[in-house]
């Protein structure tokens, strides 16, 4: 195993490792993956889908025999996290789709994660059971009650080994705190609290208390006619438990300090890039809406994703991002049709690698992009079944905009907009990435020399 985190130079080669999910022509909607997340050690990888199910993969221990193959991820546990509900007051169905999964840092033998749909957050405990008590006095081995009259001796039950069983149990249900749809959850660095954000409000919870939460941000105007922006994503600072950020549909980010006041309606910092007014069009605001915001591991930077770009901001500089990367600028000339088929509203996520040197985000046609912040190199890769041979090296892809198309290039008009990569995850310390392509989960690793 090669330690350390790779710099994306031309020497970094990404290889196919695994693909999960069925290979089928028609996709059942429930199977569409809606969130992907590694835990803090990278040992576990969780996915949530539109059917409200969570599947957790665990990395197998690397064997001495197979040094050329890094540990693979195998199914560890799967459970139904959320079920569809009906809101009787509003006569609307509440989707069971898992919007986000966030892991808690491990503090004992069990694993804990938060999963949320539009309305309810749940804390799940995933634990292993490998021993079973045997020799009860009042029950027989099948669990049937014994007739007390037949019991003539007493024995002490003993724990005997059994086949490993992984159980997932809901430990807390945090419900009825959101009028609007939850888009983000974020575990605080104090490991005692977390926040949940919907379109207009952000609530702070204590893990132990489910019937109360503090409202820390409320941007609902008194008159809804005056509504101009909504909250699109929110995250706690990785080290400072008093600091969090939230992004808006207008392309701005606000940083708030909970020490300043109980209700953080007044931001501490306001990040916005000035726009050239002559560039404004019907689409400007839509494509500037931030779909994801992520702190770097260092806590010094935040990364935001809007429809066409990824931006890196320095927390110390509010007036503009320090880096802007074009994800698929060729779509600028397709905005009309992307508006008609609703793709312009797709919410792409973005991720940092473990050392904050490379950032990754998805695109259409099952393409995903990586940008090396140091070398300024970028690469486009594809998650496809054609490249699914074990350890097959992924070939960089290229979209051609102009007239002359080279042999390996694909033209903008041939892109499949139904194949969108919205959710990706990067292992916290190694070059292993998980890419969700509709109903399939791809795992790629960098080439082991």
């Amino acid at each position: 195993m090669i330690p350390g985190i790779g710099v994306l130079t031309q020497n970094t080669l990404w290889c196919f490792s695994q693909m999960k999910g069925a290979i089928e022509t028609g996709v059942t909607e429930a199977d569409i993956i809606s969130t992907v997340e590694f835990n803090h050690t990278g040992e576990l990888l969780a996915t949530g889908d539109k059917g409200g199910r969570v599947v957790i993969f665990q990395r197998e221990q690397e064997s001495k025999n197979q040094v050329h193959r890094r540990g693979e991820y195998n199914v560890y546990s799967t459970f139904q996290s959320h079920e569809p509900e009906f809101d009787y007051l509003k006569s609307l169905e509440i989707e069971e789709k898992i919007n986000k999964i966030r892991w808690l840092p491990q503090q004992n033998a069990a694993y804990f994660l938060l999963s949320t749909n539009d309305k309810t957050v749940k804390l799940w405990k995933v634990s292993e059971r490998d021993k079973r008590p045997e020799g009860y006095n009042l029950k027989d081995e099948e669990g049937r009650l014994r007739d007390p009259a037949t019991i003539t001796t007493l024995r002490v039950p003993v724990l005997r080994p059994m086949d490993l069983m992984v159980e997932a149990t809901p430990r807390r249900v945090f419900a009825n705190a959101h009028t609007y749809h939850i888009n983000s959850i974020s575990v605080n660095s104090d490991y005692e609290t977390y926040m949940s954000a919907d379109d207009l409000r952000i609530n702070l919870w204590n893990f132990e208390i489910t019937n109360q939460s503090f409202n820390i941000v409320d941007i609902k105007p008194a008159n809804m006619e005056e509504l101009t922006e909504v909250i699109t994503a929110a995250e706690f600072h990785p080290h400072h438990c008093n600091t969090f950020v939230y992004s808006s549909s207008k392309g701005t980010i606000r940083l708030c300090d909970m020490r300043a006041s109980a209700l953080c309606d007044r931001h501490t910092k306001f990040f916005e890039e000035p726009e050239d007014p002559s560039n404004r069009s019907f689409f400007s605001e839509i494509i500037s809406s931030i779909s994801d915001v992520k702190f770097s591991h260092s806590g010094r930077y935040i990364m935001t994703r809007d429809y066409l770009t990824v931006k890196v901001w320095d927390l110390n500089m509010e007036n503009r991002p320090i880096e802007t990367y074009q994800v698929h600028d060729y779509l600028r000339s397709k905005l009309c049709s992307l508006y008609e088929n609703d793709c312009i509203f797709d919410k792409f996520e973005c991720v940092w690698n473990g050392s904050d040197s490379v950032i990754m985000t998805g695109s259409y046609n099952n393409f995903f992009r990586m940008f090396d912040r140091n070398t300024k190199r970028d690469v486009t890769l594809e998650a496809s079944r054609e490249n699914s041979k074990p350890r097959a090296i992924l070939k960089p892809r290229k979209v051609c905009v102009g007239g002359k198309r080279r042999k390996d290039e694909i033209s903008v008009d041939s892109l499949d907009f139904s194949k969108k990569i919205l959710h990706t995850a990067w292992h916290p310390s190694e070059n292993i990435i998980a890419v969700a392509a509709t109903n399939n989960l791809y795992i790629f690793q960098d080439k082991v020399n």
């Binding site: 999960k20 999910g21 069925a22 909607e29 429930a30 199977d31 993956i33 996915t47 889908d49 059917g51 409200g52 199910r53 599947v55 199914v75 799967t78 139904q80 959320h82 079920e83 569809p84 009906f86 009787y88 509003k90 006569s91 609307l92 169905e93 509440i94 989707e95 069971e96 609007y180 749809h181 379109d199 809804m224 006619e225 005056e226 509504l227 101009t228 909504v230 549909s249 207008k250 002559s278 560039n279 069009s281 019907f282 689409f283 400007s284 605001e285 839509i286 600028r332 000339s333 397709k334 905005l335 009309c336 508006y339 008609e340 088929n341 609703d342 509203f345 139904s418 109903n439 989960l441």
Partner: protein, 137 residues
């Protein structure tokens, strides 16, 4: 930059604008796309980022049955949600969907006759997917 300001008139998107500004990059594709859109849907409001979009986003319900390619409709925040009159309406709609999917086992199977008062047990419950995720398969 000054050249842009001279012909600045966002209210009028015409083909001529495209020809006039052929040499300018950047804003051109977006404006051209905007012109296309306005030509198709002349009733589209001037202020896209305003209340309409956001209100739709806040009120979205379940996305019903999404199928690709998505249906084309001049609107904002995603596929049109299905709003139900009440829970009975919701359950009837779900039952109808189930009927469509099943090969018909006789026309009178799910008919609720006039003199049968449905009880909670009779109402078809929408069961979430009890099938294990294919990722775990």
């Amino acid at each position: 930059m000054s050249q842009k300001q001279e012909e600045e008139n966002p209210a009028e998107e015409t083909g001529e604008e495209k020809q006039d500004t052929q040499e300018k990059e950047g804003i051109l594709p977006e404006r051209a796309e905007e012109a296309k859109l306005k030509a198709k849907y002349p009733s589209l409001g001037q202020k896209p980022g305003g209340s309409d979009f956001l209100m739709k986003r806040l009120q979205k319900g379940v996305r019903g049955t999404i199928s690709y390619p998505l249906t084309l409709e001049p609107k904002g925040m995603g596929p049109v949600e299905q709003k139900y009159f009440d829970s009975g309406d919701y359950n009837m709609a779900k039952a109808k969907m189930k009927n469509k999917q099943l090969p018909s086992a006789g026309p009178d199977k799910n008919l609720v006759t006039g003199d049968h008062i449905p009880t909670p047990q009779d109402l078809p419950q929408r069961k979430s997917s009890l099938v294990t995720s294919k990722l775990a398969g």
